[in-house]
């Protein structure tokens, strides 16, 4: 990990320029992604695996236009050298000749479409992370291992830091660059006999802000709560969802909020008889669900990066600026995720998906602990697991509670309860949120491989559906 690479790869800017220069027919988009990652994994107060890796990927999107139609070919290859670029472009152009016309055809974005976008520092070398990002953190983790061991606890977990520098160039003259750091820590503590378990996690840009000792102490407190165990049956319970649990549910709802499928009548956001449910009151409280590429601490790409078209993304939108977007405002559905193509179909503004998500209520303050103090009887969850869609009509999701369900009585945690399988719709649940705390950064445990940038409050939900008991501990 200390050794230098024997051979620096070609500069990503050069790959992009070579690709655009090699394009023989029609329009071309080139996306060069330079990635690096470092990770640590541990179990039972001992490091188990670790690794460092680099990746280099060049994606060529060739577009051939004729008679108002456009045909698209996409080829993406790892580890490309400068000399291989013309072949890759030729492959993409050949794929375009074999394609049928693209339904999402739009003009490419041009520099004049970008009024105030941050173009990034195009000429600068790509960033890279390395194992050293964990320097201070690893020391703290070592101390936490010792603390846990002396208290009869075992720590498990994973820390990962990734940095991807993306260079996007188009034959219409765009040159955009975005650096995305993504970091997360997941920390799990178990009792020596493995019967009690508690979890916490956090997203981070650089691990400098991670308080390992504080997190470990919190887990110790939770294992303490679990020394008294209480068996409860399935049923509907007043339930306190901490920010991480709410994040997982809201993210799945956000992923299900594509305008195309809603227009096609096949999602929970479809209006019976046609159109979408934009304008419907979803939450009884004046909740706001929004994304913002500039959100402090949760910064993400301020323009569209689309390696391929799909139901909810369009290669033609590459470079399209992203702005702060309210998906729900004052409890009312205000926007679905759109490409320029679906925006035309739906008659709504172009609101591309953004890689962060925040839920807030005006004036709401207070932590999960404050909600506990105001609870006469209810369940406090730690996090959710194995969340899957059961019925798209209602967006019914199923999944498990994991690593700590606690009974709250008269404002205090009085013991740990068995795990449950839940069946709940995040959309239906919005109308049963009766109290909201202050919004804080939250790592979504279930979706952290795909989505780490969220800020959520703890919430109180009336009648959360615990469908059956799980024996898992």
């Amino acid at each position: 990990m200390s050794a230098q690479s024997p051979e620096l790869g070609p500069a990503p800017q050069e790959l992009v320029e070579r690709a655009l220069a090699a394009a023989q027919s029609g329009e071309c988009i080139a996306i060069a992604d330079e990635g690096s990652s470092a990770n640590l994994r541990w179990a039972g107060n001992s490091l188990t695996t670790n690794g460092v890796s680099r990746s280099r990927q060049l994606t060529i999107i060739a577009i051939s236009r004729r008679d108002g139609e456009a045909r698209v070919g996409v080829v993406s290859r790892a580890g490309v050298h400068a000399g291989q670029v013309p072949d890759l472009v030729a492959e993409a152009e050949h794929a375009a000749t074999e394609a049928t016309p693209a339904e999402d055809t739009q003009p490419l974005i041009t520099p004049s479409d970008i009024l105030s976008g941050d173009a990034g520092k195009w000429d600068d070398s790509p960033g890279a992370t390395q194992i050293g990002v964990f320097a201070g953190f690893a020391e703290s983790l070592g101390h936490a291992f010792a603390t846990a061991a002396s208290a009869g606890r075992k720590l498990y977990g994973f820390a990962e830091h990734q940095l991807t520098s993306t260079y996007l160039g188009t034959s219409t003259g765009l040159r955009l660059r975005h650096d995305q750091p993504t970091g997360r820590l997941e920390l799990n503590a178990k009792s020596a006999d493995m019967t009690r378990s508690a979890w916490t996690g956090t997203g981070t840009k650089n691990f400098a802000d991670v308080d390992v000792a504080g997190l470990e102490a919190d887990l110790g407190q939770r294992l303490g709560w679990a020394e008294r165990s209480i068996e409860l049956p399935a049923g509907r319970y007043e339930t306190l969802l901490p920010p991480t649990a709410l994040a997982d549910l809201m993210i799945y709802m956000y992923w299900s909020a594509g305008a195309k499928d809603a227009l096609d009548g096949r999602t929970v956001f479809s209006k019976p008889g046609g159109g979408t449910r934009i304008g419907d009151q979803l939450a009884s409280l004046p909740l706001s669900l929004r994304s913002d590429p500039a959100a402090s601490g949760l910064e993400c790409a301020p323009f569209v990066i689309a390696h391929a078209s799909s139901r909810d993304s369009s290669v033609f939108d590459n470079g399209l600026p992203k702005a702060s977007t309210d998906w729900i405002a004052n409890g009312v559905l205000t926007a679905l995720t759109q490409t320029r193509h679906t925006a035309k179909l739906s008659g709504h503004p172009v609101t591309p998906s953004i890689d962060n998500l925040m839920l807030t209520a005006p004036g709401a303050t207070g932590s999960t602990a404050d909600l506990v103090k105001r609870t006469s009887r209810g369940l406090l969850l730690t996090c959710l697991w194995y969340i899957r869609e059961v019925d798209p009509q209602t967006l019914l999701l199923t999944g498990l509670t994991r690593d700590g369900v606690y009974l709250v009585e008269n404002g205090e945690v009085t013991g740990a309860v068995n795990n449950f399988r839940f069946n709940e719709s995040p959309v239906g649940m919005l109308s049963r949120i009766t109290e909201v705390g202050g919004t804080v950064p939250a790592l979504p445990r279930e979706w952290a491989d795909y989505f780490t940038r969220a800020a959520m409050p703890p919430v109180r939900v009336d009648g959360f559906n615990m469908s059956s008991v799980s024996q898992a501990s």
Binding site: T49, S76, S270
Partner: protein, 502 residues
């Protein structure tokens, strides 16, 4: 079937042995007690059509090398994207560095179970037509044709059609075994959607499983897409008009197209010994089938016989040699309903004294270290056993479940819930129309101990999935599960609309 495939000449044109020599020599010089080398090229292609229009076309091509070492009893791993001798030697040095840093925090010396030296071997999966040799235009035309067939039918409002295809080329050596391998897989899928006037909608997806086959799978070998597509509009219309199920306990006949996924979740993952020992405790989870229960746990009824294998023809987890040079094998996991085996890699086999590894070490890319991954885990049919019709004939009041859809299971593999593509009411041994809004929920051992009949070989189908996730950093693996139709007594059925209602 003997394959006609030959290993991708663009892959074999790389100086694979020279790269390996550079890596293994450097590792040995630096003090590694074990070193292995992989070079891989993994090509993928996705094509997706929406209502007959091309929506997605994406070709990917991943290439790289990996070096894994054991130094002073600690793993070290590093990878590189450039297939050069310098990069290979550098990766070896980096892997040794990683091992030395990690050893300070490692309390479990790494030792590997012995494996016979297999020498220089070549293995290619069974397929006829390399899907990468077929033009994109032909594939789009075929998917558009399938889409058009459905879109023209009454009651079909939307059609999604997709094809995923993968070709893996892999070179592995640890000095004792040098394996050059290639395998191909395809997953064609079509979903029809019907939207009712009241806004209620239903979908119906093809049951054709992903398969370790070539493009011939789309044109009549191994599956009859024409026949399946012809049935979908009527099945979909009947589903949209079906009554909602009444929640309660029912006897079930479960089709292999649904049961394969229940096997995957409740047996496949539960019999991974790394999980049972706690190595995945903080993420994928552990297993109720802990090591102390080997040879004792009554997993299911005595008619339950489950095998693990790397050898089933067209299986998605089938391969000649794993990423530790272990020859593909077939073995019992559950016999007479009792837990009798686990899935192993060389470290876990040695650690637990179970002898030789059964070949379950895989990495999903050259950038990842091998972890224990699932074999084809299959429920064996009963010789001379009943047909699906005969199983249904024995049910007085029940439900016949076909096709997989939603799935979820807890972190110790106890409590699961599944839905399906379609659900037929069984009354007095006869099918009596479809039901809607059905999910079944059970605890693993209760479920398998309620299995009262296993269908015959004529009901056996090899199902599977491309997207089994495990590990941190996350890895994705393809796996197949064969099974017959089965009869299960008294399983809890939920109504999913009631579950969603406040």
């Amino acid at each position: 079937m003997q394959t006609t495939g030959r290993i991708d000449p663009e892959f074999t044109a790389y100086p694979l042995r020279g790269l390996a020599d550079a890596a293994l020599q450097r590792a040995a010089q630096l003090g590694a007690s074990h070193a292995d080398f992989r070079a891989e090229r993994i090509r993928g292609q996705q094509i997706g059509l929406s209502d007959g229009n091309l929506e997605t076309q994406f070709d990917s091509d991943d290439l790289g090398l990996a070096v894994r070492v054991v130094v002073d009893g600690t793993w070290g791993f590093a990878s590189a994207v450039d297939l050069t001798a310098e990069a290979a030697a550098h990766a070896a040095a980096e892997a040794v560095d990683v091992a030395r840093v990690a050893s300070a925090m490692n309390t479990e010396p790494i030792e590997l179970a012995d494996e016979p030296a297999h020498g220089e071997v070549t293995w290619v999966s069974a397929y006829e037509i390399d899907p990468f040799e077929v033009g994109v235009a032909d594939k789009i035309a075929l998917l558009a044709n399938w889409s058009g067939t459905l879109l023209r039918a009454d009651g079909v409002d939307h059609v999604d059609a997709s094809l995923y295809q993968v070709k893996e080329c892999k070179f592995y050596t640890d000095g004792a075994t040098t394996a050059l391998q290639q395998r191909v897989r395809v997953h064609p899928s079509v979903t029809a959607v019907s939207v009712g006037a009241d806004g209620r909608f239903e979908t119906m997806r093809t049951l054709a499983p992903p398969a370790g086959r070539g493009y011939e799978y789309l044109t009549g070998t191994g599956w009859d897409f024409g026949a399946e597509l012809a049935e979908i509009p009527d099945l979909l219309a009947a589903k949209l008009g079906a009554p909602s199920v009444q929640a309660g306990r029912y006897d079930l006949v479960i089709d292999p197209s649904n049961l394969f996924l229940t096997i995957h979740e409740s047996i496949g993952h539960a019999t991974e010994l790394d999980r049972a020992l706690g190595y995945e405790a903080a993420y994928a989870g552990t297993s109720f089938a802990t090591f102390d229960k080997l040879g004792k746990l009554q997993y299911g009824s005595p008619i339950m016989h489950v095998t693990g294998d790397r050898t089933a023809e067209h299986g998605l987890a089938t391969i000649g040699y794993d990423d530790e040079g272990v020859l593909g094998q077939s073995w019992d996991l559950i016999a007479g309903g009792v837990l009798t085996g686990y899935q192993l890699d060389r470290r876990i086999a040695r650690l637990t004294g179970l002898g030789r590894s059964n070949g379950c070490a895989f990495a999903d890319s050259p950038g990842h270290m091998p972890i224990q991954r699932m074999a084809n885990v299959s429920l064996q049919p009963a010789a001379g056993g009943p047909s699906t019709e005969q199983l249904i004939a024995g049910v007085t009041d029940g439900i016949y479940i076909v096709g997989d859809k939603s799935w979820s299971i807890d972190m110790q593999r106890y409590n699961f819930q599944f839905t399906g593509q379609r659900f037929f009411r069984i009354k007095n041994g006869q099918l009596s129309g479809q039901l809607r809004d059905v999910a079944y929920q059970a605890t693993t051992t209760d479920f398998w101990n309620s299995m009262e009949a296993v269908g015959g070989p004529q009901t056996y189908v090899l199902g599977g999935a491309f997207n089994c996730g495990k590990g941190q950093p996350g890895q994705v693996a393809p796996v197949s599960h064969g099974c017959p139709a089965v009869f299960m007594r008294g399983i809890r059925i939920l109504n999913t609309v009631e579950e969603a209602g406040a």
